[in-house]
């Protein structure tokens, strides 16, 4: 888990807890967060949302926002969905492509070490 926030247009959200998930293609956020900051969900491109459990599916709408991770602000294309059971999922596009991430199980709860890198 990582505490992050978003910049949507000119508005900065409150911080929320996000699941760090290399199994997710994209960064996904609960629609409540976008709607609270004026985002018109269905004005963005729509895509399917599914998981490893067959049959469960949902809809996601993509929007350009900025992801605020402690120490960095990253422009990303983020998916927003009403069906997300968590506040946010940080996936490969938008998050893992910018960080080397080490999972550290030594503490309770287990922590993460993030190292930002910049592509040439």
């Amino acid at each position: 888990m990582l505490t992050v926030s978003l910049v949507i247009g000119h508005a900065t959200t409150r911080r929320f807890e996000a699941v760090v998930d290399s199994g997710s293609v994209s960064c996904l956020f609960h629609a409540d967060i976008g709607k609270a900051h004026g985002l018109k969900l269905d004005s963005g491109p729509k895509g399917p949302l599914g998981g490893v459990i067959g049959g469960a599916s949902g809809e996601v709408y993509y929007h350009q926002v900025k992801l605020a991770v402690p120490g960095s602000l990253i422009s990303i294309v983020a998916g927003f969905s009403e069906q997300l059971s968590v506040a946010a999922i940080l996936g490969r596009h938008g998050f893992f492509e910018h960080y080397v991430i080490t999972f550290d199980p030594q503490n309770n709860p287990p922590g993460l070490n993030l190292e930002r890198f910049h592509r040439a």
Binding site: R15, E17, I53, P109
Partner: protein
Amino acid sequence: MSPEMRIQILREAKPNSWIAFSHDEKSFVAQGSTYLEAVEQAELRGENDPVLVRVPEEWLPMVL
């Protein structure tokens, strides 16, 4: 706040709701049916920089 206490708060919260913790995540501040409601309730209680957590519909082991 201990991890155990945090888990207890989340487990006892209303499904599909949002919990607002204090800025330092050391205490529970507010709850809301939406992100916005939790933020507003937190602000009414004097916390302008809450950390929000979404409570799922069911507490199940997740494969993400």
